[in-house]
């Protein structure tokens, strides 16, 4: 589904190399996790894949479902089926959550040459999906992420994901700032979207999220490179011993 080949990235403003050759292949329907200490390049990976400004790809490529995506605009990547659940979802004052969702859904449908969803169909779908994430009518009405709690923001990201039905979901530290109950709710939302077709790249600092979203493969990112790949047990090892041992191993 998603193949990253020898990806080198530096910051546009200063010539600082952040990613130094990442190779990664997320197969269709699989869940891969990227773990790593602070500053290893986890968030950069998610931003570069989704097309945020400020990064320069100096080498390598990323292929989504057979299509090279690094030259595409962010909205084109979204229409191609890529979704990033933000670590810090952005507030947009004055824009109703529902309006935002509907604009996004229809923009993607239009880009793919599909008809727009009617108001009725859209509403039905939003209500059903919001319910499973315990998002009430009031939260749908309020301006996007404005005054939302940490948990509400993350649930809102998952609602967007559920509505946009992407092929490839990247979750950037979705567990940060969440208590256990909120994390469970978010994880349930994500698990409900696992259907054997959709792929996930879960970026996290801690192992605890992976108790709820079970990965097929775990990668350890350190200093811009993937230094170790393994099964779910690798995450447990990090939880127990920290990153120091693994880093020492490769150093």
């Amino acid at each position: 589904m998603l193949e990253i080949k020898n990806l080198h990235v530096q910051l546009e403003e200063e010539e600082k190399q952040i990613l130094k050759g990442i190779d990664l292949k997320v197969e269709t329907g699989k869940v891969h996790a990227i773990m790593g200490p602070n500053g290893s390049g986890k968030s950069t990976t998610s931003y570069v894949l989704s097309g945020r400004d400020g990064y320069e790809v100096t080498e390598g490529e990323a292929i989504l479902d057979g299509q090279s995506i690094l030259d595409l605009e962010p909205e084109e990547r979204a229409a191609a089926g890529l979704f990033l659940a933000f670590q810090y979802p952005v507030e947009i004052p004055g824009v109703g959550n529902m309006t935002f969702l509907r604009t996004a859904v229809n923009a993607q449908r239009k880009a793919r040459g599909q008809d727009e969803l009617s108001a009725g169909d859209f509403l039905k779908e939003v209500r059903a999906k919001a319910k499973t994430l315990k998002i009430d009518a009031d939260m749908l009405k309020r301006p996007v992420n404005v005054g939302f709690s940490g948990g509400e923001k993350k649930r809102n990201e998952i609602l967007q994901m559920a509505m946009l039905e992407p092929k490839m979901c990247i979750l950037d530290e979705t567990d940060s700032g969440l208590d256990v109950d909120a994390m469970k709710l978010v994880a349930e939302g994500v698990n409900a979207l696992r259907d054997g077709e959709r792929s996930f790249l879960v970026i996290t600092h801690y192992q605890r999220l992976l108790d709820y979203i079970k990965p097929d493969v775990v990668h350890i990112l350190y200093d811009g490179r993937i230094v170790k790949t393994g099964g779910p047990e690798l995450a447990l090892e990090v939880e127990k011993n920290g990153y120091a041992d693994i880093i020492a191993e490769v150093a």
Binding site: S50, G51, R52, D53, E73, P74, E75, R77, A78, A79, F83, L84, F86, P89, V90, E91, I92, P93, G94, V95, G96, M98, T99, F100, R102, T103, A104, V105, N106, A107, Q108, A111, E116, A119, G120, F122, L123, R127, A137, L140, K141, P143, Q160, L164
Partner: protein, 500 residues
């Protein structure tokens, strides 16, 4: 939840409308028609000629001539934060009317089809049909009466008979001067005096047409009234005059729209709007101003120097100004409220967008004279390109305006780094029981917000339109439904090409 559905429908349709529109200014075409002009320039003969063309009584001609005398002694104001080449007031046509309007048509059916087509093309209904008000309450018929003003003359006014039944008078001001001289004489120039300011005084001398509204006591006007101004002729100034009188306990909602063709040379528009509101009456006045703003290099466009003022003459009178200013090369406009009656209320909601080389100096005045009067100002200024946008507002609490309150919120949004936003509040409080609050913010369209929208699939322009419409929400909500949709679309169109 159901009200959410309605609101959502509106927003989505707006986006659709925006997408279907191409080109930045869509009303820039011209109607080819034979015109009749008065000679260029202004002097007492021209003033007399305009008066004669309108079949005016002697008192009106005298009134105009006195205004002209006064104007000769006035100087153009220079205090506004706008910069434009000197206007040669003798190089402008002050009167232009389609030849076919020489014989005043008895009804709209007799008006030259070419002129009617102009309005059809602009989407202005001149047929007396109920408007389908989009998504809101489609089962209920909504009607809007229209007065269509083309260059210097009013072509006609719809729904006059139906309004007459309710006792409402809605006609062109030239007709009102002929048919209702007692009302016009009683109120004309009492809100904006002849000597008020340079442009208002010029307007008093040479105004050619405009709209007149009278709502009798205890009457809710049965439909919305609107005037649509179109400047078509070249090198012609449009000087229209609007007079609205809301008698005791009455209510009316009035809409004003304006457009003009794209031209290389700037054109002058100097209007005066006077509103008289008596005891317990309420007037809502909404403007969507979409004059041609000039091209990207600042060539052409309308100079919009307008004096608009409402006088809450009776106790508990209420006025609400709502304006969406997207057009004009230069805007100089301060719709104001005189809160004379006790417990009277004035509100001002404004969105002013300036893109490319546009300059806007706009705001309001709230003059509190009566006891326990209240006013509220919500101004949203958006600057993009190399545009300069100034909010200029005055709030005055007179000694007798005890226990009065004002709240002002003034937000500026910058798109790009070559534009400017300025806030110039004047606050005078001359008693110690009144309260004035002023809040101002300036922000930039946030890259994070745009990226968030784009990561969800919206293209850059859609993302900017969404964020800016969110910024303007409080004002857009104050507009009548049809205007709100048009305004949202306009916001998006005016900002096309402002990012990236």
């Amino acid at each position: 939840m159901d009200d959410v559905q309605v609101k959502d429908g509106v927003d989505a349709e707006t986006v659709e409308a925006v997408q279907s529109l191409s080109g930045t200014y869509k009303h820039g075409w011209e109607t080819e028609i034979e015109m009749e002009y008065a000679p260029k320039g202004v002097n007492p003969d021209i003033v007399r000629l305009i008066s004669e063309k309108n079949d005016e009584p002697e008192w009106m001609t005298e009134w105009r001539l006195a205004a002209f005398e006064r104007w000769m002694q006035l100087k153009e104001p220079t205090w506004a934060m706008v910069d434009y080449p000197e206007i040669d007031f003798q190089d402008i046509f002050y009167y232009a009317r389609p030849k076919s309007m020489e014989e005043k048509p008895k009804s709209l059916d007799e008006v030259d089809p070419k002129l009617l087509e102009t309005y059809a093309k602009l989407g202005i209904p001149l047929k007396e049909q109920a408007l389908l008000a989009g998504v809101e309450a489609p089962e209920e018929e909504r009607k809007v009466a229209v007065d269509a003003v083309f260059d210097s003359v009013s072509l006609g006014t719809t729904f006059q008979d139906e309004l007459k039944k309710a006792g409402v008078i809605f006609c062109s001001i030239s007709e009102a001067i002929r048919e209702h001289p007692e009302l016009v004489r009683q109120y004309l120039g009492t809100v904006v005096p002849v000597s008020d300011n340079f442009y208002a005084t010029l307007n008093s001398a040479v105004f050619s047409d405009g709209s007149f509204v009278y709502i009798p006591p205890n009457t809710k006007c049965p439909m919305e009234l609107s005037t649509y101004f179109r400047i078509n002729a070249e090198n012609t100034g449009q000087f229209e005059r609007t007079l609205i009188i809301a008698d005791k306990g009455s209510y009316v909602s009035y809409l004003e729209g304006c457009t003009a063709p794209k031209r290389d040379t700037a054109q002058l528009h100097a209007a005066v709007v006077e509103i008289v509101i008596l005891e317990d009456a309420e007037v809502k006045y909404s403007t969507v101003q979409n004059w041609f703003p000039g091209d990207e290099d600042g060539k052409g466009g309308i100079y919009n120097f307008v004096t608009k003022r409402a006088d809450c003459r009776g106790d508990r009178a209420k006025v609400m100004w709502t304006q969406v200013e997207t057009g004009s090369a230069v805007t100089w406009k301060y719709p104001s409220c005189i809160l004379r009656g006790d417990d009277s209320q004035g509100e001002f909601y404004s969105i002013a967008i300036a893109n490319n080389m546009q300059q806007a100096d706009t705001g309001t005045k709230m003059i509190h004279l009566g006891k326990n009067t209240k006013s509220r100002i919500v101004s949203k200024g958006i600057s993009a390109g190399k545009a300069q946008n100034t909010y200029r507002g005055q709030v005055t609490m007179h000694p007798k305006a005890k226990e009065s309150r004002n709240y002002t919120q003034c937000d500026s949004l910058l798109i790009g780094d070559k534009c400017g936003a300025h806030t110039v509040p004047y606050i005078e409080v001359k008693n110690n029981s009144s309260r004035v609050e002023h809040e101002a913010t300036t922000s930039k369209v946030d890259d994070d917000q745009l990226f968030y929208c784009r990561a969800r699939g919206m293209d850059e322009e859609e993302a900017v339109a969404l964020v800016v419409n969110g910024f303007c929400k409080e004002v857009l909500q104050a507009l009548p439904m049809e205007f709100a949709m048009e305004a949202q679309a306009l916001v998006a169109i005016s900002l096309e090409g402002s990012v990236g």
